[in-house]
Symmetry: C2
Subunit: 107 residues, 2 copies
C-alpha cells in the first residue's frame, strides 16, 4: 500500500507543525470564516502564515474561498479520514471501525 501510505503521510505532514495546528483550532472555533486574522493569531509573518495555509490547502484539510479582497478559509475534516482511519486501525486492531466495512490495507 505505497500510495495510500504516501497519502496518509502527506496528511500527517500537514498536521506536523504547531502553527498549522493552531490555525486549524482557530478555524474550528470560528464558525464563519476569517481572513488575515490568522496572521495576528499565530504571531508569524504574513508570508509564513500564507505558506502554512497553502500546505493545509494542498493537503485538502482546509478550503479557501475568495470573498472579495480577502479569502474565506474553512475546515474540511473529511480530508483527514485516511489518517484517522489509519490511527483507528492501530488503536483498535480487533474492533471494526464504525464506518469502513472493510479496508484491506495489509498485504
Amino acid at each position: 500500500m505505497q500510495d495510500t501510505d504516501i497519502e496518509i503521510a502527506e496528511l500527517a505532514k500537514a498536521l506536523a507543525h504547531p502553527a498549522r495546528l493552531r490555525i486549524l483550532r482557530l478555524l474550528l472555533v470560528t464558525p464563519g470564516c476569517i481572513g488575515g486574522d490568522i496572521v495576528g493569531a499565530v504571531g508569524l509573518a504574513q508570508s509564513t502564515v500564507s505558506e502554512h495555509l497553502r500546505i493545509l490547502k494542498a493537503a485538502g484539510v482546509i478550503t479557501g474561498e475568495i470573498s472579495g479582497p480577502r479569502i474565506c478559509y474553512a475546515l474540511n475534516p473529511a480530508a483527514l479520514e485516511p489518517l484517522a482511519d489509519f490511527i483507528g486501525t492501530l488503536t483498535a486492531p480487533s474492533a471494526a471501525v464504525c464506518c469502513v466495512p472493510d479496508e484491506k490495507e495489509i498485504s
Copy 2:
C-alpha cells in the same frame, strides 16, 4: 495550547513518512515481535530503518524490548491518543456521525 500542539505535532511528524507507516503496519500484522525483518520489509538500508525506529520510539508509538541479541518491537497505540483526539475534535463538530458527514470536497 502550545505544549499540547507541540506534542501533537511531534506525533504527526512520526507518522509523516511512508516508511514509518509501513513499519507500523508491519508491527500491526505481526502479533509477536520481529527484529531485523523490518529492514527487509521496507527495502531500506539497515541504518535508515534503525533511524526510523528511533523516531517512532522517541514519539512513544512503539516500544523496543531487548530479547537477546535482537530487539522486540511492539506497537503502543495509546501514545497516539492526543493526535487521535485532535482529529476527532476537528471531525466531530461538523457532524455527530462518526464518519463521512459530507462528501463536499471543494478544492
